[in-house]
């Protein structure tokens, strides 16, 4: 297990620090020229920071780069920006691989060339007639024994589209390259000038299985921009909904993993129990995915005492059932044998590529926004962070199981501890020329929303980072040296979002 070392306070004039879910004037962000920003960001990462977001803000015909870093041990976020850049700047990826996807994205969105980037290609856009994402060329391994396997975008099964290219020597995968972008809906492009009437609903569907986490991050950003806070009871309802979302998805994942190793008792039971958890979300707000619950300023609906009691009763039953179903699975040596030492991502690799969420915690990294950067209800109550060393499929399944138990316990405690008061308050106008950041620990991992307002208080730039944006690289690494037949369980053990990445 490795915890980032406690950082010493930054040198004056370097990054500006702020807490999760707060805002500061855009003018207060320290300005570096681009090469200096790259160097300073690299230095902070070397001191234990993580890159939460790296993106461009258009300014005339130039672009400013913005870095958002997290010092997990200090519960602080560090931000800085560059002076307007045109053309190119030296790539951060060369020294710090966790920036590689961000720099490809900046190149695609703002046409800024990160010089020295080792694998510069589109992240999600199409450059053809609009038929398919421009995947350019794939990394190729040559040799008489080598063969290439191409899968997707339409896969077998009811799942989202993506394209996977395996370079194989027999069964062994030498390299996997993942090309995404098929679900691209231009989410970030339609946000400037907002919030619009549909914005809240678009946030809820950035990744449908992460509705509560994205909606909460968005609400936190708007509240930070308005300088207000949602009432305590609303924060309690949000936490309850967020943990229900986690329970449903982790249960589904355990069932799917069992299904992929043909362990049907757990697979069938978990498929059903997942639905029971989704129905608990529907009990709270009418929708199985938590739509129309979280609103800027609070929540649209209250979770009254009588409803909370009903929720608690049904929750206990579902938790008991998932306990039994997962018990069969953990007891079976055949299941453990299929999961252990398969799809390993090593701790140092995980740190280097900036894994977050379940995938990071399964590599022994203690990373959990609820614990590291608590906002809302998590300032008062926390579930223990679930960590497991190993970095293999087994560890990722195990972390899910631990979280199921701990979130279940957390929910049972919190449902009995409702604060009184209203669940929403009118939200004031967003402050002009202001920059706000909000992190929320969704069930997959860290959801990061960043907003910058213009002189009228409308969005000038809105950046969304779904945990999948960090973690797809982890799946590619997990496949190195694996049998290609192990791809399904590796993929399921990460269970990343396509639409959350494609935006």
């Amino acid at each position: 297990m490795s915890t980032p070392p406690l950082s010493s306070p930054p040198a004056a004039g370097a990054f500006t620090f702020l807490a999760n879910g707060t805002s500061l004037p855009w003018a207060d962000l320290p300005e570096f020229n681009a090469p200096d920003l790259v160097r300073a960001t690299g230095a902070e990462i070397d001191r234990g920071a993580r890159l939460c977001a790296w993106f461009g803000v258009p300014e005339g015909d130039a672009t400013r780069l913005v870095a958002v870093l997290a010092f997990d041990a200090d519960s602080t976020l560090a931000v800085a920006r560059s002076t307007p850049v045109r053309g190119s700047y030296p790539a951060l990826t060369v020294t710090h691989p966790q920036a590689h996807m961000f720099e490809r994205e900046v190149w695609e969105q703002h046409h800024l060339n990160p010089e020295g980037h080792p694998w510069l290609k589109p992240v999600r856009a199409s450059n053809t007639a609009g038929d398919a994402p421009a995947v350019g060329e794939f990394f190729r391994v040559n040799g008489p024994e080598i063969h290439e396997v191409a899968v997707g975008p339409v896969h077998a099964g009811v799942i989202e589209p993506g394209h996977f290219r395996f370079q194989c020597a027999g069964e062994e995968v030498l390299h996997l390259e993942i090309a995404l972008g098929y679900q691209h809906r231009a989410v970030e492009d339609i946000l400037p000038g907002g919030p619009h009437r549909a914005t809240m609903h678009q946030m809820e569907t950035v990744a449908g299985d992460t509705t509560i986490a994205h909606a909460t991050a968005y609400a936190n950003v708007l509240e930070a921009l308005a300088g207000t806070e949602a009432p305590l009871r609303a924060q309690w309802v949000r936490a309850v909904a967020l943990e229900l979302e986690r329970l449903a998805n982790h249960t589904g994942d355990i069932g799917a993993l069992a299904g992929d190793v043909a362990f049907l008792p757990t697979a069938s039971a978990c498929g059903k129990i997942r639905g029971d958890f989704l129905n608990l979300s529907a009990l709270v707000c009418g929708n199985r995915f938590g739509r129309a619950l979280v609103r800027p300023g609070g929540t649209r609906l209250d979770l009254e005492a009588e409803r909370a009691t009903r929720l608690l009763e049904r929750l206990k039953v579902a938790l008991g059932e998932v306990e039994a179903a997962a018990g069969w699975f953990w007891d079976a040596a055949s299941v453990r044998a299929r999961f252990e030492n398969v799809g390993v991502v090593f701790g140092p690799q995980a740190t280097e590529i900036g894994l977050v969420g379940v995938a990071a915690r399964a590599c022994g990294l203690v990373r959990d926004v609820r614990f590291d950067h608590p906002t809302g209800w998590y300032r008062f109550a926390q579930a223990p962070v679930a960590v497991w060393p190993g970095g293999d499929v087994y560890a990722r399944a195990r972390v899910r199981w631990l979280e199921l138990q701990r979130s279940g316990q957390f929910l049972q405690e919190q449902l009995a501890a409702a604060p009184a008061g209203p669940v929403n308050e009118p939200l004031g106008p967003a402050a002009p020329d202001t920059f706000a950041v909000a992190l929320v620990e969704g069930w997959r991992g860290e959801v990061c929303h960043v907003a910058l307002t213009d002189a009228r208080g409308a969005f000038r730039r809105y950046k969304i980072v779904d945990p999948s944006f960090h973690n797809w690289t982890g799946l590619a690494l997990a496949l190195r040296g694996q049998a290609i037949s192990d791809f399904p369980i590796c993929n399921k053990s990460f269970n990343l979002s396509y639409c959350g990445f494609d935006l």
């Binding site: 609009g130 975008p153 098929y182 809906r185 609903h201 569907t205 449908g208 639905g275 396509y498 639409c499």
Partner: protein, 263 residues
């Protein structure tokens, strides 16, 4: 050890598949709301409140004309229901809302207060698909919500296969395509190719507000506002996402598998 545990639990749980459609349908959550009903005659003069709160432009009321609500564009956020003082727009708590024609989702005109539910396939197609329907599911710009609730029909609780309906891996094995998502430009070719690979005669089922008309992303430059931009749609199932019961109702209605004389 675990074999006995598993067997004991299995026996204890009994049959988990619901009795529907022979038994009554499972209850919808009390806050769900179900399909909408529009009584345009109840509208107050000049009131535009519902039009102003609708996030997807599903509601229109041009001057001098009655209120019109397009349930295909609706994402069921309930904002219009909450702001309507004379209760011209109400919830029916009815899970049934699948239709065969896009126009049947337009509510508000006299005699069109509620959706006109889907009619079954014609005799020839019923003979082909009525007892065995294989679907290739294509997620094209979906958020994962519809996909999850389409998937859930395959689990033991709903057990879609008891109706002879299955999801299959290859379009060559399929009788139709089930589309979710607003159809991103980047998925249009893949959707078209999948459709083309399904042998004739074939069906297309659009599940969810996105697949019908773009949902929350209607009008975004990277989306084509629904499946009909690429393939001809035979069944529209509204919702964001539709409740599994709504999807199942649509499929069974299409295959004439519901013993239901009314409506």
């Amino acid at each position: 050890m675990f074999v006995f545990d598993t067997l004991t639990h299995r026996l204890k749980r009994g049959c988990e598949t619901m009795g529907y459609p022979q038994a009554p349908a499972p209850a919808l959550p009390d806050r769900h709301g179900g399909a909408l009903r529009v009584d345009a005659a109840k509208c107050s003069d000049g009131c535009q409140q519902c039009v102003e709160v609708c996030p997807t432009g599903a509601i229109t009321r041009p001057a001098g004309q009655p209120l019109a609500l397009d349930l295909g564009k609706c994402i069921f956020c309930q904002a219009c229901v909450e702001v309507c003082p004379p209760k011209a727009i109400t919830q029916t708590n009815d899970h049934r809302m699948a239709v065969r024609n896009r126009g049947d989702l337009l509510l508000g005109a006299p005699g069109q207060e509620e959706v006109r539910l889907a009619a079954a396939l014609d005799k020839k197609l019923l003979k082909l698909f009525g007892r065995s329907l294989r679907l290739r599911v294509v997620s094209a710009g979906g958020c994962g919500g519809c996909e999850a609730d389409v998937n859930v029909l395959g689990t033991i609780g709903w057990d879609l296969s008891r109706f002879g309906i299955n999801y299959v891996a290859s379009p060559r094995h399929a009788d139709g395509v089930l589309v979710t998502g607003c159809v991103s430009r980047n998925m249009s070719l893949a959707l078209k190719k999948t459709y083309d690979a399904v042998p004739e005669p074939k069906l297309v089922i659009a599940v969810g507000a996105c697949a019908i008309n773009g949902g929350p992303f209607i009008g975004s430059p990277e989306v084509l506002n629904g499946a009909s931009a690429v393939v001809p749609v035979d069944l529209y199932i509204p919702g964001c996402p539709p409740h599994p019961l709504t999807i199942l109702d649509g499929l069974l209605r299409l295959l004439d598998r519901l013993e239901e004389g009314k409506r």
